[in-house]
């Protein structure tokens, strides 16, 4: 069966350090993968998209890698700030209409 796994344990990190989140999947061959941020009581907000033929994508302090052989994506927040505290979700596209399958999310807590 298809599965998307993110670390369910909260990631506690000190301000200024790099947070690294993992998204592993099985029985998928996604054309692209997305990362979203979700704050309590809010809907997810799109952060980055990486395609299957891309190894790495950057946006400001965010970096995403995509290894289709390992079936894994890594999401990095560099120089983390308390405002980065949120839950981060990875999502894989599952068909040509854009249907997304979401992972369970990893909560990040950045302390000053």
């Amino acid at each position: 069966s298809q599965k998307i796994e993110q670390n369910s344990e909260a990631l506690n990190i000190q301000e200024g350090k790099t947070a690294t989140l993992t998204c592993n999947y099985t029985n998928y061959s996604p054309a692209y993968l997305q990362w979203y941020r979700q704050d309590p009581g809010r809907g997810p907000v799109f952060l980055l998209l990486i395609r299957e033929n891309e190894k790495e994508k950057r946006k400001e302090r965010l970096k995403v890698t995509f290894d289709t052989t390992l079936k894994q994506s890594l999401f990095h927040i560099t120089a983390s700030q308390p405002a980065d505290s949120a839950t981060y979700l990875c999502a894989l596209v599952t068909d040509s209409w854009g249907k997304l399958q979401f992972g369970s999310g990893t909560q990040v807590v950045v302390t000053p």
Partner: protein
């Protein structure tokens, strides 16, 4: 980008009743999606709603329980019918603006539903 609003933002309902959730977008979109997010869980896709066609439901979700309307390109409703406490969840709609050029989905703020 897109601005999406949902009504109501939250509600408390009695079991056996139905609630209709509205999703309004500030621009015309082809693809609209309805998700459920149960407490502490991730998002689960309920159905895809395209204007001019019947909604497509995911495994485990049926039209009788979650009827969807999509009367135009900026609006959709999801009804949660004959509710039970297990339906307590956050319901979110999302849209994709321009399939083929941008695969970003924009989400509404969600509707928090508690069924007693």
């Amino acid at each position: 980008s897109a601005v999406i609003s949902q009504k109501p933002s939250r509600d408390i309902c009695q079991r056996g009743t139905s609630l209709t959730i509205q999703c309004q977008v500030d621009s015309q979109v082809t693809m609209m999606f309805w998700y459920r997010q149960q407490p502490g869980q991730s998002l689960t896709l309920i159905a895809t709603a395209n204007q001019g066609s019947e909604a497509t439901y995911e495994s485990g979700f049926v039209i009788d329980k979650f009827p969807i309307s999509r009367p135009n390109l900026t609006f959709s409703t999801l009804t949660v019918s004959n509710m039970s406490p297990e339906d307590s969840s956050i319901y979110l709609c999302s849209v994709e603006l321009d399939r083929g050029r941008s695969e970003t989905q924009y989400f509404g703020p969600g509707t928090r539903l508690l069924v007693l």
